[in-house]
């Protein structure tokens, strides 16, 4: 398609404007999408880090961060359910963190049985009693400029000896990890309280059967698979909180702004060449011939534009990670947005081409 390529090379200003518009859209869509995806991932981060078949919690718990304690007798009751191999406990709740300089901050204290496993950041051998682990990205917010440091959580002394990565606070209340006994103490749970029971099903047992047995034994509790609890928490944070709602709205708006910019620029670029298409038609070109020119022009712009947009988005998001530690781009998101941009450009150009190919060829005689 010589004419298509030559048209692009010929009208470089127009091409650059089109590419800039598409690059901006790709950037906007991927950035807003990454904020939303990062928020969702952060909102179920602790749940996803734990390797458990089933979660047991009080009825109606929406998120890991807000759960009432379970009465202590459930631990034994649930361990006795046939098919349950192991039960671990986790406690979580809000507490006051007192910085070395004396000012206070609200944090979420999390403690689990020693063998939580999975990607959960606390390992038994590295975590001593009274240890508190914080995320690297929260060090500054917690007023820690060097480690180790001594702090107080709900007026109890804790040692911060090391930091972990990937559990950055997404709502301004940092997660503080430690031993179960320390968390109970800080949260005033006595010596047997817990918010969650994490179950593993014995090998060869059917998880659904075990779950049904649990629900029969304790109908007043919620029993969820890890995946169910994870998506329940994501739904809660995204749809039922102001922060999540704002991010979701921004992502949806960003997507539509991107869609509009891409289709507008491609459409305008095509319409600008309407007279040439009329000439082609008068010279006997088929509609297919014209559509091909239009589509090639649009796709070249869209490919260059989205490549530039994505190429700019990744370094800028790395830079933004200092302020927004939880921003996250799953590669299918980037791929889907790139494909969507190409499809849109093709669609917009073909819509414009319809105008081009339906023009009356007689207009070529107008001076």
């Amino acid at each position: 398609m010589r004419l298509a390529i030559r048209n692009i090379a010929h009208d470089r200003t127009r091409f650059l404007l089109t590419v800039a518009g598409i690059a901006f859209s790709a950037f906007l869509m991927v950035f807003q999408g990454s904020l939303l995806c990062g928020f969702e991932r952060a909102s179920s981060r602790v749940i996803d880090s734990v390797d458990a078949d089933l979660w047991v919690m009080a009825h109606g718990v929406q998120a890991f961060d807000f759960a009432p304690p379970l009465p202590s007798d459930y631990y034994g009751k649930i361990r006795g359910v046939p098919g349950v191999r192991s039960v671990r406990r986790m406690a979580s709740g809000f507490a006051f963190w007192q910085r070395p300089n004396g000012s206070r901050k609200t944090v979420i204290v999390i403690g689990g049985d020693a063998e939580i496993g999975g990607m959960y950041p606390v390992e038994r051998e590295n975590t001593l009693p009274e240890d508190a682990l914080v995320d690297t990205s929260d060090l500054e917010a917690l007023g820690l400029d060097q480690l180790p440091a001594e702090v107080e959580i709900n007026a109890r002394r804790r040692h911060v000896r090391r930091a972990v990565a990937g559990f950055g606070s997404f709502l301004g209340s940092p997660y503080i990890f430690g031993r179960l006994s320390d968390a109970r103490q800080a949260l005033g749970l006595g010596d047997s309280g817990a918010m969650f029971l994490l179950l593993d099903v014995a090998p060869g047992e059917n998880a659904a059967t075990v779950r049904a047995a649990l629900e029969a034994r304790a109908p007043e509790l919620d029993v969820l698979s890890s995946r169910e609890f994870s998506s329940r928490a994501q739904r809660y944070w995204t749809l039922q909180t102001g922060a999540g709602g704002a991010l979701l709205t921004a992502a949806v708006l960003g997507f539509f702004v991107g869609v509009l910019i891409v289709s507008q620029t491609v459409y305008a670029t095509t319409m600008e060449r309407l007279e040439e298409f009329a000439t082609l038609k008068a010279l006997g070109a088929s509609s297919w011939f014209i559509v091909r020119i239009v589509a090639v022009q649009a796709l070249v712009s869209a490919m260059v534009g989205s490549a530039i947009g994505l190429a700019l988005a990744f370094p800028l998001m790395s830079a933004a990670r200092h302020a927004i530690s939880w921003i996250y781009t799953p590669w299918p998101l980037a791929a889907a947005l790139a494909v969507a941009t190409l499809l849109l450009a093709a669609l917009a150009s073909i819509t414009a081409a319809r105008a081009a190919i339906s023009i009356e060829p007689g207009r070529v005689f107008r001076a």
Partner: protein
């Protein structure tokens, strides 16, 4: 009335009307005419007399409201767009007042455009270069339209129209955008197309300086042919 053997296009009682607000305006009123191979026919008449409308019928760019166009003895009254497109692609060379070259392509590529549109056209780059020579643009094939004078551009357009060896060449006010000297050059080229290549050349114009070139002249007014002259 049988066609004389060298009739390329014939108009039979063609009429065209346009809606202009509430009224219906008749741009062509039952016009009949024949156009012959190897002859140059001028359509003369004041602006608004219907010359362009008649050209667009002859060039298969639109269909008459009534009457019919015949191409080489075959009526087009039932022809659909693909058939008209084939005629434009294979048989008709167009020359426009505003040239209508592709600004992103150089002169040679503009001349070659019909071969891109019609991949079965047996025209080579050498043919295109030869045509550029014939219109007096030897060695100017790499110039872009914006680097050429109006007269040069119109000569590129004539070369483009001739590449497909058309049966008819239709020109609408081909000299109106040109100075006298370039206008004469272009007019001579159109005449040569008829004489040396056997095209039926049909030129709509209100430029009386073209009169000496013509084999036939059709004078139009208000959508009718009011006089015919054979030279």
């Amino acid at each position: 009335m049988p066609n004389s053997p060298n009739t390329i296009i014939a108009a039979r009682e063609v009429s065209v009307g346009f809606e202009q607000g509430e009224r219906r305006f008749t741009a062509l009123d039952a016009v009949s005419a024949e156009f012959y191979a190897g002859e140059i026919t001028l359509l003369m008449g004041a602006s608004g007399s219907g010359k362009t409308t008649l050209l667009s019928l002859l060039g298969c760019l639109r269909s008459p409201d009534s009457g019919s166009i015949e191409w080489q003895g075959k009526s087009l009254s039932r022809a659909r767009e693909p058939e008209l497109m084939q005629l434009r692609r294979r048989q008709i060379g167009f020359v426009f007042q505003s040239f209508r070259l592709f600004p992103a392509l150089n002169a040679l590529e503009n001349v070659m455009m019909p071969a891109q549109i019609d991949t079965e056209l047996p025209a080579t780059r050498a043919d295109a270069e030869e045509l550029l020579c014939a219109v007096g643009l030897e060695g100017k094939g790499s110039l872009y339209p914006r680097q050429m004078s109006a007269g040069q551009r119109q000569r590129v357009a004539v070369a483009r129209a001739l590449l497909k060896k058309p049966a008819a060449i239709l020109a609408d006010e081909p000299t109106a955008s040109l100075d006298t000297a370039s206008g004469e050059q272009v007019a001579e080229l159109l005449k040569a197309a008829a004489k040396a290549r056997g095209c039926a050349a049909i030129v709509a114009t209100h430029d009386p300086r073209l009169l000496p070139l013509a084999d036939r002249i059709l004078f139009m007014r208000d959508g009718k042919i009011i006089a015919r002259d054979e030279v």
